[in-house]
């Protein structure tokens, strides 16, 4: 069989179609929230949430076993969503309160989440294979319900991440200024946390809880190397995320590899490649170029107000000269207004 035949057979497999669709959705949406997390220096938040999500998966299993549902997996994703949201809100709460202990709190969630998950899956009668599927990704069992669920979550993530970009950028770039501008900082923080949790839940199927964060962060890290603005960073990261997910998943069709590991290694290879090539592409910028407009600005300043000569005068003379300056400015203002 030629490569082309294999490719065609992959694309005609319904399972693979669904899997590729989910991978594309996940690949495009995860970096959106990842861009905000990187800007906030919370790149590891996704990891913390992912670990907690594993406990959620295990609880879903236990609940499923108790309720006697046909498939032990049926409640795994809802369990992960619930646990991820609770975990994200917990982390946000800790971050908001005491900044100094935030990393310790994150560490607790890491260890607690993973240990709790492994313990509970054992109690629920899960096998090592089940566990590996959740840890490193497995989409050999996706059905059309999974596709719809993923599409719904992706729409939410993209809606929040792109629709509220100005406010979320303001928040992540300079939270203090966002607060001083009157932005509803607490509500926006909670929104970011919940959206991150949903991103983890949707990505878990494809890359597994241990590598969820890689999908949110590594495409952003690559984009950061080349994009000239925040907006461009997000756009480039979305495109790269989509590409590595689809390509990585396709590779696992040809070789029996873990999808999460394949996608992550692909993304990191991309990072290394771009980091090496970038200096070659980087055009020299003229950073020290004087700004002609600014120079013109200053020359007018001197002419109009007589600064800084006035500033050495004292007390009321200074105030008077300032108001005189404003007055002498007035006729010109009027002309330009009527013009």
């Amino acid at each position: 069989m030629t490569f082309l035949d294999t490719l065609l057979s992959m694309l005609s497999s319904e399972l693979m179609q669904r899997a590729l669709l989910i991978a594309g959705l996940v690949g495009v949406s995860a970096p959106v929230i990842g861009t905000y997390l990187v800007q906030r220096r919370l790149a590891l938040l996704g990891d913390g949430i992912g670990h907690v999500a594993l406990t959620g998966v295990a609880m879903g299993w236990l609940a499923g076993a108790a309720a006697g549902t046909a498939s032990a997996d049926a409640l795994a994703v809802p369990g992960a969503v619930a646990a991820a949201i609770i975990g994200a809100l917990l982390i946000e709460f800790v971050r908001d309160r005491g900044r100094t202990s935030a990393d310790v709190a994150l560490a607790m969630l890491f260890y607690g989440g993973i240990a709790g998950g492994v313990l509970l899956i054992g109690l629920a009668g899960g096998t090592a294979a089940n566990l590996t599927g959740y840890l490193f990704g497995s989409i050999s069992t996706v059905d059309s319900l999974d596709v719809w669920l993923s599409a719904g979550l992706a729409v939410f993530i993209l809606g929040v991440g792109l629709g509220l970009r100005p406010a979320l950028f303001a928040l992540c770039y300079d939270e203090e200024f966002a607060r001083a501008s009157g932005l509803p900082v607490r509500a926006l923080n909670i929104l970011v946390a919940v959206t991150a949790a949903l991103t983890v839940a949707i990505s878990m199927r494809v890359v597994g809880v241990l590598l969820v964060s890689a999908l949110m962060i590594v495409p952003v890290a690559v984009a950061q190397l080349i994009a000239p603005s925040f907006r461009a960073t997000m756009g480039v990261a979305m495109v790269l995320g989509g590409i590595v997910c689809v390509v990585g998943l396709s590779i696992t069709y040809f070789h029996a590899l873990s999808p999460g590991a394949t996608i992550t290694v692909l993304a990191i290879t991309l990072y290394a490649g771009v980091a090496v090539i970038r200096p070659l592409l980087h055009r020299r910028r003229h950073l020290r170029r004087p700004d002609p407009q600014h120079l013109q600005h200053l020359s007018r300043v001197g002419a109009v107000r007589g600064y800084p000569a006035d500033t050495r005068a004292d007390g009321h003379a200074r105030v008077a000269s300032a108001s005189r300056g404003a007055r002498s400015d007035a006729p010109r203002r009027n002309t330009s207004r009527s013009a």
Binding site: P166, Y173, R179, A180, S181, F230, A232, T311, S323, D329
Partner: protein, 276 residues
């Protein structure tokens, strides 16, 4: 207290105490800043100047006392007219993580409690605001590659883009070259002529001295000196730039943002008024 025309002062602080951690930083501040006044806040390092202006912006909670901005108690965050306030912090808070253009930073200044997404023309307005601080040509450049003084000017543009009625600037002169200080003085003098209230934290009035109506000196969290003597007699705004009565009333009711006769900044670089 309202003035004779029934207007609220820009800022009204009554018996303000602020504790940060174990420190008692502000100990009983009473201060009323009239609409249109330019107030210089002076004091030694650690005297509480930054804390005071941060408290006025709701960034640090009052342990005791009350702060009202245009008559709105800061405790009721949603009732505060945020779009009328502009703030230039003492330091750049943002971390240099990824490329962020000056335009993107400045456009963030258009947002407030009701506006989570800036309207149309955000980019043009950001460029105009950057023009006011002489950085129009750099608007697409990464701010993290700017010098400290240039970054400070970007933050000033981020406050100016709001067209604030109350501008709070924390130490705008430190680390800024002489020409840019002069340019800032002109920008502030334009704002003052339009009736903007300005609270500026300073160590040395320098080029801003001619603009200052009133000086308040803090010392260990208390007001040690307040030459409020200048309040009554502070020079009236120049005749033609004084808002007309009608628009002044509208402004007080908070209905006015656009029709203020002198609302558009005179752009000294082009001699034209900025677009709204």
């Amino acid at each position: 207290m309202r003035d004779r025309a029934g207007r609220h002062p820009a800022v009204q602080i009554d018996g303000l105490h602020v504790e940060l951690g174990a420190n008692s930083v502000l100990e009983g501040i009473d201060l009323e800043v009239a609409d249109g006044q330019t107030l210089a806040l002076l004091g030694a390092n650690g005297s509480g100047k930054t804390t005071l202006v941060r408290a006025v912006l709701g960034l640090v909670p009052a342990t005791r006392g009350r702060i009202a901005v245009y008559g709105a108690d800061l405790v009721m965050r949603r009732a505060v007219p945020w779009s009328r306030l502009g703030y230039v912090p003492q330091r750049v808070n943002a971390q240099p993580v990824m490329s962020v253009t000056a335009e993107e930073v400045v456009a963030a200044g258009l947002l407030d409690h009701r506006r989570l997404v800036p309207g149309s023309h955000a980019r043009e307005r950001a460029q105009d605001a950057l023009g006011q601080v002489g950085l129009r040509e750099r608007s697409r450049d990464n701010v993290h590659l700017f010098s400290g003084g240039q970054q400070q000017r970007v933050l000033i543009a981020r406050a100016l883009i709001r067209r604030p009625d109350l501008l709070i600037i924390d130490e705008p002169l430190s680390g800024i070259d002489h020409d840019s200080q002069t340019a800032l003085a002109v920008t502030l003098s334009d704002l003052q002529a339009r009736g903007t209230t300005i609270i500026v934290v300073l160590h040395d009035p320098g080029v801003l001295a001619p603009l200052i109506h009133r000086t308040v000196v803090l010392d260990h969290g208390r007001v040690r000196h307040d030459d409020a003597a200048g309040i009554e007699g502070f020079p009236p705004r120049a005749g033609s730039t004084l808002p007309s009565d009608a628009s002044d009333d509208a402004r007080v009711r908070g209905t006015d943002r656009a029709p203020h006769p002198d609302h558009h900044a005179l752009d000294l670089t082009t001699g034209r008024r900025g677009s709204s």
